[in-house]
Symmetry: C2
Subunit: 81 residues, 2 copies
């Protein structure tokens, strides 16, 4: 089962990389108010049950993928369709 974990700096946490990207985009002439930079991890899991996969991915995110002190994560399970 394929899934994606989206990891973002929590609201209120300083994001200097996002600020630099926003500033660079404005310099290039784009009407950007703000930009925040995060990570994504595409994971291929040997699990067939979506609920079980989501639980495993939440555990992985807490254990390794995200830093829960400063980052939030969301999990998107890919439909078999």
């Amino acid at each position: 089962m394929k899934a994606t974990v989206l990891i973002r700096p929590k609201e209120g946490i300083l994001d200097p990389q996002g600020e630099a990207v926003g500033e660079a985009l404005r310099t290039l002439g784009y009407a950007v108010t703000s930009a925040r930079v995060g990570r994504l991890v595409d994971v291929d899991l040997e699990v067939d049950d979506p609920a079980e996969a989501e639980e495993a991915l939440a555990a992985m995110s807490r254990d390794l993928l995200a830093n829960p002190m400063i980052e939030s994560f969301t999990i998107e399970i890919e439909d078999g369709a």
Copy 2:
């Protein structure tokens, strides 16, 4: 208008960070076949028309956010809902 650009290493492009994450997850006992690591950028745009926003975001991605040689990008426009 809020939108997110998702940037991933193209298929066939080596992703050592993803390989390291996959290996670490397997070491922790998770049944992970593969992992690929990418970036995401949340952008707040001063544009009201979704089509215009998507066009601007594609241009930003080509200009600055992604490296089209080795990365692909997808754009998700947030509904006002």
